[in-house]
């Protein structure tokens, strides 16, 4: 069953155009001119229940706008969205019990109060029963290791601690869909891992659908099977992360160490990156030269060590973004 369905979803807004200089300032005062910006243009796709979708794209592509339309925060200019059978704008309140969101760049906790106060407030806002709340809080406290700072004011927490609390706050009411808008922005590796583990567990144990935007290739690679790339407000790519890697990843990097002094030559599809007498690094375009062949063509007795790498996810994403 589709948890999220978008059908021709669009969002246009007006921006005042102001010319430079005094004359234009007056002009815009008397007769303001507007420019229409199409943030999201006719976007259609659906996300299955229990799926973890990476919704990626360069800055300003329309990711956040889409998320905010799906959560009922922004009103679409045209088209339809359906989330868990609800129209997010019309049934905003009903839907809100079923979804959770973390916006990495915004906070939902009371700045001056300990997170525990915010949690308690949310439990009454979401009408969570006391025993249920305590159970849920205990679980999240354990999973996210919140124990030691639950009662320090939020303003005294580090970013990592705060974001972990943001996650707890978004998950208290047991949402069926979790919208994550750059949740790991600015976090260190350890916290990132903790958060990824949490998301994975929620997905596995509770069947939570995850809708993730991130600029962190690791998030996408580790969590999602499917990725949608949005650019200039339209869907540019919609495919599995595996296929994306395969399609955009017709490049392998081979590093070699030799026993004896060796000289390698470039052949078709093989480009040398670095070459010293006892080592070489080259990339293979697998559309032109099969990687097996290239390796077979080497003098195996002379090879002391070999590493074959795929270019990192980041490069793949960069390739997709710059292709258009």
């Amino acid at each position: 069953m589709a948890a999220i369905k978008l059908d021709g979803l669009s969002k246009t807004y007006k921006v005042k155009v102001r010319g430079e200089g005094l004359k234009n300032t007056f002009k815009s005062l008397v007769k303001p001119e507007y420019k229409e910006v199409e943030a999201v243009k006719n976007v259609s796709f659906s996300v299955d229940e229990g799926e973890m979708l990476a919704f990626i794209g360069p800055n300003g592509a329309g990711k956040s706008t889409t998320i905010k339309m799906l959560t009922g925060i922004l009103h679409p200019t045209a088209g339809q969205a359906e989330v868990l059978g609800f129209n997010p704008v019309k049934d905003r309140k009903k839907l809100s019990y079923q979804i959770g969101a973390v916006f990495g760049q915004k906070s939902q906790l009371s700045f001056h109060l300990p997170p525990l106060d915010s949690f308690r407030l949310l439990s009454s806002v979401y009408e969570i029963e006391k025993t249920e709340y305590e159970k849920r809080l205990a679980r999240l406290t354990e999973l996210l290791e919140l124990e030691e700072f639950l009662d320090s004011p939020v303003r005294k927490l580090s970013l990592g601690q705060r974001v972990r609390c943001e996650f707890a706050a978004s998950l208290l009411h047991g949402p069926r869909i979790l919208f994550l808008d750059e949740p790991t922005i600015g976090l260190d590796v350890v916290v990132k891992h903790k958060i990824r583990d949490l998301i994975k567990r929620l997905n596995k144990e509770e069947g939570v659908t995850v809708f993730l935007t991130s600029h962190d290739a690791g998030d996408i690679e580790n969590l999602c099977r499917r990725a949608i790339v949005i650019d200039h407000g339209t869907v540019a790519v919609d495919m599995s992360v595996k296929k994306m890697k395969y399609d955009y990843l017709n490049k392998k990097v081979v590093s070699l160490k030799f026993n004896a002094e060796t000289t390698l030559e470039e052949t078709e599809g093989v480009t040398l990156i670095k070459h010293t007498p006892y080592a070489a690094k080259f990339s293979v375009d697998t559309r032109i030269a099969a990687i097996g062949r290239v390796i077979a063509g080497l003098d195996s007795d002379n090879i002391a060590d070999i590493t074959i790498e795929e270019p990192p996810m980041e490069e793949i994403i960069a390739a997709i973004y710059t292709k258009k």
Binding site: K68, L74, S96, F103, G104, K106, L113, V125
Partner: protein, 260 residues
């Protein structure tokens, strides 16, 4: 209902965090009353002006200032900021009515301010001019109702002005004008100081009903006056809440949140 009560509860906690803020406002209140006391002492020469003697006049200003210090005037700035910065995004994600949520969230602060500044008003009134002659304790329930209505009305008007941020890039001029209207049509001077024709209009307008309405009830109570003012306040209160609803529900469609 439970969730709004919890919100009010947490807003008391929040109010207590801003101790420096409260101290600042207490000093400000004192300065205000002191300046007006000095002004009116210069103006009065033992007689009445438009039916108010000096004692009544000073108590009057204590009361109009009390309304403004309790109205959670910060709401304009809060709305303005939430809409413009996009902080409203999280707010719209919750299962609550945004407008009542904001009211509940300020209620704690208002109650706290009301207790602090009522005390201030009484203390300063007593120090500067002494007790009000002819003050009747039976008037207190009417006074409390009238104050609550005027604070609520003022809150929702301020909120509506703040929510104009949905429509205008720069909405502070509206706030500025509103503040000045409150100031001249009741806060600074009772409307009896103005020509009769102006009084005739002003006694039905929210600006005077917010300040003059409850303040006059304190300094010159009569049952007939209370029965005339309170229903009007109720009507304007409903109007203010409806206006906030209208501005919000239409405005939220225009909302844009940029950058994350």
């Amino acid at each position: 209902m439970g969730k709004y009560l919890s919100l009010a509860g947490i807003s008391v906690k929040n109010a207590l965090v801003y101790r420096a803020n409260v101290t600042g406002r207490i000093i400000f209140y004192f300065v205000f009353i002191f300046v007006f006391f000095s002004l009116w002492r210069m103006v009065y020469s033992g007689n009445e002006i438009a039916g108010y003697n000096l004692t009544q006049m000073v108590w009057y200003v204590c009361m109009t200032e009390l309304v403004l210090f309790c109205s959670g005037a910060g709401i304009f700035g809060v709305m303005n900021h939430e809409v413009k910065s996009g902080a409203i995004a999280y707010e719209l994600l919750r299962p609550w009515n945004y407008i009542y949520k904001q009211f509940a969230g300020t209620l704690g602060n208002m109650t706290f301010s009301a207790s602090v500044f009522t005390l201030m008003a009484i203390v300063l009134g007593m120090i500067f001019v002494g007790p009000l002659p002819g003050f009747n304790a039976a008037a207190i329930p009417f006074i409390i109702v009238s104050f609550m209505l005027s604070i609520t009305m003022n809150f929702f008007f301020l909120m509506s002005l703040g929510l104009l941020a949905f429509y205008f890039e720069e909405n502070s001029p509206f706030y500025f004008i509103y503040q000045k209207l409150l100031f001249v049509f009741g806060m600074l001077i009772p409307i009896e100081f103005l020509p009769l024709w102006a009084q005739g209009i002003l006694r039905y307008l929210p600006f005077s009903l917010i300040t003059w309405g409850p303040a006059k009830m304190v300094v010159d109570f009569s049952f007939g006056y209370a029965m005339q003012i309170i229903p009007l306040q109720v009507i304007w209160c409903i109007a203010a809440v409806s206006l906030a609803h209208f501005v919000f529900s239409r405005g939220v469609r225009k909302l844009n949140v940029h950058g994350g």
